[in-house]
Amino acid sequence: MKRPDRIDWIWLALLAATATTWWLGEHPGVTPGTPLAFVVLALAAGKGVFIVLDYMELRHAPALWRRLLLGWLVLTTLILLVATAWPR
């Protein structure tokens, strides 16, 4: 069995982040609100960065495509965060 490389570790990190998100969503002690939205969306964006840079292999691609996809990820995450944290 060959030693695990970067894409294997990233898979484990993605699973760990998913488990954390699931726990935060299910745990009765965690109250919904802006701090929860911030943590959950930061985890989602973090997962997205790994997918864009390592699985889509944009880390070593022309900067335009890397900026377009990471820019989309940041902008969409911010829109969702602002809308979720919007005062009642």
Binding site: T21, A44, G48, L69, I79
Partner: protein, 202 residues
Amino acid sequence: MAAPSDSLGALSKPKPVPAQRLPGDLVVWLLVLAELLTFGILFASFAVTRVRERALFAAGQATLDLSSGAINTVLLVSASWCVARSVHAVRAGQSGPGARWLLGALAGGCGFLVLKTLEYVHKWNEGIDVAENSFYLLYVMLTGFHFLHAAVGCIIFAVLWGPTRRGAYGPGNCHALETGAVFWHMVDLLWMLLFPLVYVLR
């Protein structure tokens, strides 16, 4: 005449540029861009409508199974990992393992489609349809549109499996496999935001 010969020398010896390469076909990247923008609008519509109809969305989201959404996330990221492994194996000249990793990706994708179908059937049996209210309309549009993309991704895996197994792709000829992989990673990337938006944040 020293300056011209120097500049000629500089021209004949260009500075080494780090290799920058966009994997797969350019067309798939244009498609990825169009899909990300379309889903971006749908995500924003869901989040903004939720601000305006908090009680309705809270009631609607309470009927969704967060655990099923989390299992679907695991299936999608695992399929992404498998197809990334398949590309690496084929680039290393290992067609057999490459094809087996692709089957793993197909299994993950099909698992996602089955689980999502069960979710839709469950909702249908409860008598809920698209026209019920704005929550279910956006829920079905977002997840249904994503479901169709995942189904296309599975078809791509199935189509690529045969040639991969026969050794049609190799270290210098991995274009089609890379293109299919990029499409699936897009499906995965979209779900990374869809899952917290629809299933977790209430």
